[in-house]
Symmetry: C2
Subunit: 158 residues, 2 copies
DNA sequence: CACTTTCCTTGACTCGTTCAAGAGAAGCAG
DNA sequence: CTGCTTCTCTTGAACGAGTCAAGGAAAGTG
């Protein structure tokens, strides 16, 4: 295992110093939590942060996630039917594969060429700045387990 | 103006009869409401339905939207930061352009070829059944008005 | 028309998220 | 190092889209 807790903290602190944000232990812990739990939801981040800082308020985590997303240190994704999830892989506009059964999210790189689907057939006069692609399906585990879609999944899916 | 209220009702009723669902005036009204308000949210559907059926409960509308989506008469979309929205254009897996400023949603047809982006660079073993593409940007009106993104928009956007 | 099954009404409730006020700490100037 | 200013965190209440549950109403069937 390379990458100690301390190195993570240093890395997170350095990232924070490059913004105009203050370096607080809460924010460092939130950045580390998201690094350790890819595509984590807020609840997971809160639990993870509390392992090192038992007294953090949920509001501090919400605030940190918002602020860090605003300055570009985190990216927020919200697949249909899911709560907000955060990731530290930013700046490459990669896309996501979401399991309809267990909500597992996996990163996928751009599909065709380097700017896939960035040109809709007509843009209706819009100034487009991002194309977000979400692939829906079943992850290997759920496929193997023969998982069936629940009514709710079907509803929120299509 | 072609397409009277009565014709719409007949059309909606016919669509319902092709499923195993009962034809109720609430469901007919919901179908008509979604036809009349493309990409309408639930609140809009409720208001629209109450123009002809003042006494419908919000629960009846929620139930109808769910059921109609399940049987494939409606499609539900939920862009990040937006509530659920419904549309009657189904079966062609078209995509959406969303204005970051006013939340206007516009349909766009498939982009490259007929099955755009349906093949991620690696599928991580997933069985993929749908690729959902959302284009984010600014609609013509907001661009002309020089609308700036609010902090909140920026947050939920990237 | 009577009966069965599905659907709608009513009203309470959940859960993720946000709001607001005041206490606390980060960073800077001296 | 010390005090000051400003930003950040804690506390606790509130919000809103959506859901749950029980009983009454209406659609479809024979």
């Amino acid at each position: 295992m390379n990458g100690t807790k301390h190195e993570h903290d240093e890395d997170a602190a350095a990232a924070l110093r490059q913004t105009s944000l203050r370096v607080t232990k809460q924010r460092v812990a939130v950045l580390d939590a998201v690094r350790d739990h890819p595509h984590a939801d807020t609840e997971t981040v809160i639990r993870s942060v509390r392992e090192s800082l038992p007294a953090v308020s949920h509001q501090a985590v919400y605030d940190s996630l918002h602020t860090l997303t605003e300055v570009g240190l985190l990216r927020c994704i919200k697949p249909s039917g899911s709560v907000a999830r955060y990731e530290r892989r930013i700046g490459d506009n990669h896309h996501h594969l979401v399991c309809r059964s267990c909500s597992l999210i996996v990163d996928v790189d751009c599909t065709i060429g380097q700017a896939p689907c960035l040109t809709p057939s007509h843009d209706a006069g819009f100034v487009i700045d991002q194309a977000e692609v979400t692939f829906w399906g079943m992850c290997p585990d759920c496929t193997a387990a023969g998982a069936q879609l629940t009514g709710d999944d079907q509803f929120s899916a299509v």
